[in-house]
């Protein structure tokens, strides 16, 4: 019963922002601790403190704006994202949250959150689209190559999966189809929650196979915006 209530539940814009800030404080805090053992204390000590403030709800919108400024400083320091897509998603969420806090009216606040929700949907759909139009992905060879020689598998043992083309063919198509049909989940609140659970499972497997742990945590942070968006639009 409680599971059904959860699947059917929705969020207001304010609740979505609150959840995103709580999740972000953990995700960015985790990233910052990893960076701190590598140095760059001038950036990551303040970043960690702002995460603490945001997680505890101290300082209103200031920690969000502060984290946005620090993310900009990180782009300059590393001359681009340190961790590819996960840093891009971090910056995107912080930009949308910052604008939502700055918005003069609820309409513009909703526009900022909607932009994030649409980008989240696109992050799955576009990934699926670029794969399905590529013959190497359609025949399964691309996923074999990912395991065979790309820099991503976290251990040499995982490379042996390249010798199981039928398994990878099925897995590759499962990912492509999931990414392509993801936008349809917006039509129903229960379907959306189930799709988000599947998406989280997908990111979890990427973290296990390819060490992309930051992607897992940061994509979760954007989910409340999509849950709010689905209820608002449909």
């Amino acid at each position: 019963m409680s599971a059904l209530v959860f699947l059917q539940s929705s969020l207001t814009a304010g609740e979505a922002m609150g959840w995103m800030q709580l999740l972000l404080s953990f995700a960015i805090g985790q990233q910052s601790l990893e960076h701190l053992v590598r140095g760059d204390r001038m950036i990551f000590v303040p970043r960690l403190m702002l995460c603490g403030a945001m997680g505890l709800g101290i300082g209103g919108a200031w920690p969000v704006w502060g984290l946005w400024v620090i993310s900009l400083a990180m782009l300059r320091r590393y001359q681009g994202p340190y961790n590819g897509g996960s840093d891009k998603m971090t910056m995107l969420i912080l930009s949308c949250l910052s604008l939502a806090h700055l918005a003069p009216t609820p309409f513009w606040q909703e526009m900022a959150l909607s932009y994030l929700a649409v980008q989240l949907v696109l992050s799955y759909f576009v990934s699926g689209w670029v794969k399905v139009v590529n013959p190497e992905w359609r025949c399964g060879e691309a996923l074999c190559d990912v395991f065979r020689f790309s820099a991503y598998p976290v251990s040499e043992a995982l490379r042996s999966l390249a010798e199981r083309p039928r398994f990878l063919f099925v897995m590759g198509w499962a990912v492509i189809l999931f990414e392509l049909v993801f936008p349809l989940a917006l039509l129903d609140p229960v379907a959306l929650k189930l799709a988000l659970l599947c998406a989280a499972g997908f990111h979890f497997s990427n973290a296990c196979f390819f060490g992309l742990n930051r992607f897992f945590w940061i994509w979760l942070c954007a989910y409340p915006a999509l849950i709010w968006f689905q209820d608002r639009i449909f």
């Binding site: 897509g85 910056m91 590529n134 065979r148 020689f149 976290v154 040499e156 979890f204 060490g211």
Partner: protein, 141 residues
């Protein structure tokens, strides 16, 4: 300012083209040089043979080494696409940090792996100039 804008815009208007193609994949190899004695090329941070379930789960929360390795992959790709001293310095510093202190010179190269038909091919696409290991380690400390 324009440079910062060019770094910022792709984060708020992302392309989301993850794994559009599986491009040639970089590996960093380094060697130490002491006078006339030139060491063999060695792979920087070779991945472990096997990871247990516990290690995989722990890496969900604590994965700084691997994330730094992914950053070095980005630096290697950037160095080929748009060469910059920043990428060279980042690779030099982070390779030097993993090595024991020494008076040798450090040199790295970028080897790109790709598939041609059924076989894997390695292509050396970049070789750095030599830098004193001690000076890099002093900066990295």
């Amino acid at each position: 300012m324009l440079r910062l804008l060019s770094l910022f815009l792709p984060t708020v208007i992302p392309s989301w083209r993850f794994f559009k193609t599986v491009a040639p994949s970089p590996r960093i190899e380094y060697r130490l040089i002491e006078g006339e004695s030139i060491g063999d090329w060695q792979e920087d941070r070779p991945r472990p043979t096997h990871l247990g379930l516990g290690q995989v789960l722990r890496r969900m929360l604590w994965n700084p080494d691997w994330n730094e390795q992914l950053y070095l992959v980005s630096c290697s790709e950037r160095l080929i696409e748009a060469p910059s001293q920043h990428s060279v310095d980042e690779i030099n510093l982070r390779v030097a940090r993993t090595l024991p202190e020494g008076a040798q010179m450090l040199q790295f190269r970028l080897v790109f792996l790709s598939r041609e038909g059924a076989r894997l091919v390695k292509l050396v696409e970049y070789e750095s100039t030599q830098v004193a290991l001690a000076s890099l380690q002093a900066v990295a400390a």
